[in-house]
């Protein structure tokens, strides 16, 4: 691959580009979905190609192809250059791209057990056993188990002299039980909804999840949900478990702090942000319990890597400190607007996509509470767990979430189960109402493998470390009308 890379970079230099990079990416995916005792899908996907990014006379061009040979690459380079040239001829504002020191490096996800070395029979057996254990509960109408393994090999080269090779391994698994009765569907899942929990780890992660051990509980709770009382409606105290809080962080902090969104590049699609660059250092995002870091170095996080897709080393940076906004997610092109260097968040969804600012691991730092003390300290409220639905406006101000399950809290104790739980709020008000975050014993990483952004669409794999937290005066039980 190095020869291909050098050839394109030589061509780029001959064309006197301001900057060019090439990424050659091979992704291999194995996915197994089991439903009601049958294999619903058993698939292998191999995707191989390259993308070339060219900055010429202050305008960008990008072209990509699955034809990975010298001719295919030279043809794609010509297209990228042609596109950049078309922009350069007409574009008023010239793009400024700060130089970076060349990096020659190799990164590999540290793993103990290569998931591709574990036999498919072993994986299928685990999923089928978990699925069968769910179905032993006769109230369950649909039982499901899923496992996915994702390996990405990337070679990145730039006209600055960087040459970076990375091999990133990700995997995850999960189970769910669905009960259906009189026009109502209830789903309970483990370890997280929407197919499970994912990490940049080896098969040891799948084994640690112990999905089989949770099958009976998941089925039992799905059965109980059908006859549970509906979530009450009103203003109350809310305790969110880590998995739901991960999505809350994702939607109401992770996306608003993307500097490209703030600058309007997603305006016509995913939306913008209520934040402005000048709010850094001044804006109180939440209470002093709120400490957020973007940490692409955290071992095992789904947003963990060695280098981003424009050659910047993975970093750990504070974003919100004691409730105050102190930084944003940036790229090489956007960071100078803040007077800073990129904090290394540019990632592309494969060879055929342009890198965008993406979340890494956006982590809520642990507090000092135990969950038990947090509940005991709550006179009345709700404890909600596991996301079921999510929605937020195009500026990331008004959100509404639903969870799979919840419990009432009365006089410091967990009470009856509630179903169809929803809560809604306004981002800074909500985070300002946070008065307790659980400690490191309750803190864990949650992988979000379905973060959508960009046109053409890109799906990023990102992580969120969270511990349960408490929020006061939250509107719950959003009704659909009379």
């Amino acid at each position: 691959m190095k020869g291909f890379v050098e050839n394109i970079l030589n061509l780029a230099n001959l064309k006197k580009v301001n900057y060019a990079d090439i990424r050659i990416v091979r992704r291999q995916v194995e996915e197994i979905a089991v439903k009601n005792g049958s294999v619903e899908a058993l698939s292998w996907n191999e995707d191989f190609g390259f993308g070339i990014r060219v900055l010429f006379q202050g305008a960008w061009g990008f072209a990509c192809s699955s034809k990975v040979d010298k001719r295919g690459m030279e043809s794609a380079f010509s297209r990228a250059w042609e596109i950049a040239r078309a922009g350069a001829e007409t574009q008023g504002k010239k793009i400024s791209f700060p130089p970076a020191s060349p990096v020659v490096a190799r990164y590999q996800t540290p793993i103990s057990v290569d998931p591709f070395n574990v036999s498919l029979e072993t994986k299928l057996k685990l999923l089928l056993e978990a699925d069968a254990a769910i179905r032993r509960n006769k109230k369950v109408k649909i039982s499901e188990a899923f496992m996915g393994v994702y390996q990405t090999e990337k070679t990145f080269g730039s006209t600055e002299g960087s040459l970076i090779e990375q091999e990133i391994m990700e995997c995850g698994a999960g189970i769910s039980a669905t009960t259906i009765d009189r026009g109502e569907v209830q789903v309970r899942s483990y370890p997280n909804s929407f197919r499970g929990n994912f990490a940049t780890r080896g098969y040891e992660w799948i084994e640690e999840l112990k999905i089989r051990d949770h099958a009976e509980r998941v089925a039992e709770e799905a059965g109980q949900l059908i006859s549970a009382k509906p979530c009450p409606s009103g203003i109350t105290t809310l305790i969110l478990d880590g998995s739901q809080l991960a999505l809350q962080v994702h939607e109401s902090i992770g996306h608003p702090i993307e500097l490209d969104r703030i600058l309007g590049t997603e305006a016509s699609y995913a939306g913008t942000s209520f934040l402005k660059p000048e709010m850094i250092g001044a804006f109180q995002y939440g209470s002093d319990q709120l400490n957020i870091e973007a940490d692409a170095t955290f071992p095992g996080g789904l947003g963990t890597f060695g280098f981003d897709d424009e050659g910047m080393k993975a970093q750990r940076v504070p974003i919100i400190s004691r409730g105050k906004l102190v930084n944003l997610l940036t790229s090489r092109e956007t960071a100078p607007l803040l007077g800073k260097e990129s904090n290394g968040t540019m990632r592309a969804d494969g060879w055929n996509r342009l890198p965008l600012i993406r979340m890494t691991n956006i982590n809520l730092e642990p507090g000092e509470w135990t969950l038990e003390r947090m509940i005991a300290d709550t006179k009345e409220g709700l404890f909600l767990s596991t996301n079921r639905s999510w929605s937020i406006d195009d500026k990331r101000i008004n959100f509404q979430f639903g969870t799979e399950i919840g419990w009432e809290i009365k006089a410091g104790k967990l009470g009856p189960m509630v179903k169809n739980a929803t809560y809604t709020g306004i981002t800074p008000q909500f985070w300002s109402s946070c008065d307790a975050v659980a400690n490191r014993d309750h803190w864990q990483m949650w992988g979000t493998p379905n973060c959508g952004k960009g046109e053409p669409g890109q799906v990023a794999h990102v992580g969120h470390g969270t511990a349960p937290a408490r929020f006061r005066n939250v509107r719950v039980g959003v009704r659909q009308g009379p």
Binding site: N45, E46, A59, K67, D393, Q400, I426
Partner: protein, 451 residues
């Protein structure tokens, strides 16, 4: 582009060489480009060429799928062996009967050669024209302009052979001025249909009107423009209009066939062959598209099938198979809502106090069997009073059952609009949803977006 003869020849070779009991080969090619712009610049302009082969093999009742875009013969051979080894190790899926058998595919033209005129220079020029026209009216423009050539070829060992070449282009635009924003979109297979002026006018009109006022959440009479109606239709398609959801007992259609479920003014169907939409002659299993009516005058009629779900009921596929492995079911992708008798202006005139909604944003399911969804309004939400559109209003959150809303339809516009649908995530395959504007007597708003 690989073209018909070479594409089918390649697929037939691998299907013939497969030792599996049944084999299906699906080839998808893409040659596309997309440019995005903000008021300041064209910040992204990309081009992609890709060819993807999906092999589905069947050993008895055991099925496996291998997808690859490495199309060297040795790689394809390895992929075929991989698929067979994956099928071999799994238990049989007793519900599986067979891959589909061949049926005549309608011959329709879905490719306009004029799309090749969209060179990078031409595309930049068109975008600059849009930006200039919007700026002249005192607004700033953001958006995306994309075009693509896509081929789909399917061959299976039972004799299915289908090939289709598609062109597509879309342009969407947001005009904004710091107070309000307006949206307009265009989708077609034909470049000559693209008219910039009406798009700019539509987006700018929506953005005009000054500072938005705040309206309290609650239930209001609403007029939903086609883009907002599209959102509801797509959710209904995903949640309940297909056989898998019914067979699993999770569709709102369960036990309702033959019953009136929504207002008698409402007729909703899927039709891949209707020229008002973006035509698609066959599905990803090579089965010709059939028109499937979901609601006829408010009464629940039918759902869509692929070969797997059809065989479970001893029926024929309606031509709604998606790319394998498909765990979502035969979700309809060419949705239509029948137009009514009203003019949009008449509908507005008949509203005493209500809300006019251009489009929704970030919608999601709250209660699937009641089709309750939540989401935000976006890019043009207005207060209507005494039959006139008054002020723009701050965006509202709705939490509402789409079925309940369709039960309360008071009027439907005669005019319909094709709204872009389908996928530009992953593999490109653009379709359109054709929807009218509707007037709903009671729609629930549960919040407002305001700091």
């Amino acid at each position: 582009m690989i073209e018909r003869e070479a594409g089918l020849r390649m697929l037939k070779r691998w299907v013939q060489e497969s030792p599996a009991d049944q084999t299906e080969a699906l080839l998808m090619t893409e040659d596309s480009s997309l440019a995005r712009f903000t008021p300041a610049e064209i910040h992204q302009h990309v081009a992609e060429r890709n060819r993807t082969l999906i092999l589905r093999v069947v050993l008895g009742k055991r099925i496996a799928v291998v997808t690859t875009n490495i199309l060297r013969p040795s790689s394809i051979e390895a992929s075929l062996h991989k698929a067979i080894s994956l099928a071999r190790i799994q238990p049989p899926n007793e519900a599986f009967v067979s891959l589909p058998r061949p049926k005549p595919v309608p011959e329709i033209n879905t490719f306009c050669g004029n799309i090749s005129r969209l060179t990078p220079q031409r595309k930049v020029k068109i975008i600059q024209e849009v930006m200039t026209l919007v700026k002249e009216r005192g607004f700033s423009a953001s958006g995306a302009f994309s075009h693509g050539k896509v081929e789909i070829a399917v061959v299976n060992s039972l004799g299915v052979e289908a090939y289709q070449k598609y062109s597509d282009l879309f342009l969407h635009l947001i005009a904004a001025n710091g107070k309000g924003s307006g949206y307009a979109s265009f989708v077609s297979r034909d470049l000559d249909q693209l008219q910039i002026e009406p798009l700019v006018k539509a987006a700018v009109t929506k953005a005009s009107g000054g500072d938005p006022i705040q309206v309290d959440p609650g239930e209001y009479e609403v007029i939903l423009e086609p883009e907002a109606v599209r959102e509801g239709l797509v959710f209904l398609g995903y949640l309940g209009f297909h056989a898998l959801a019914v067979q699993e007992g999770r569709s709102f259609f369960c036990n309702e066939f033959g019953n009136r479920m929504v207002n008698e003014r409402v007729t909703i169907y899927d039709d891949g062959l209707d020229p008002q939409g973006l035509q698609v002659p066959f599905d990803f299993e090579g089965v010709p598209k059939q028109k499937v009516v979901f609601f006829k005058e408010g009464v629940v009629k039918n759902v869509t099938y692929d070969s797997f779900t059809a065989a479970k009921e001893g029926k024929e596929s309606t031509g709604h198979g998606l790319t394998p492995p498909n765990t979502d079911g035969p979700v309809p992708i060419n949705l239509f809502m029948q137009g009514g008798e009203s003019a949009l202006e008449e509908m507005i005139r008949s509203v005493r106090r209500g809300i006019y909604i251009s489009r929704f944003h970030y919608t999601n399911v709250v209660e699937p069997m009641k089709a309750v969804i939540t989401g935000m309004t976006r890019d043009g939400t207005f207060w209507i009073e005494e039959g006139e559109i008054k002020n723009p209003i701050k965006n509202l959150r709705f939490t509402e059952s789409i079925l309940k809303a369709l039960s309360r339809v008071k009027a439907i516009s005669k005019e319909r609009k094709i709204c872009p649908a389908g996928s530009v995530y992953g593999r490109r395959f653009l379709t359109g949803t054709v929807a009218p504007a509707i007037q709903v007597d009671g729609f629930n708003f549960s919040g407002v977006s305001s700091l």
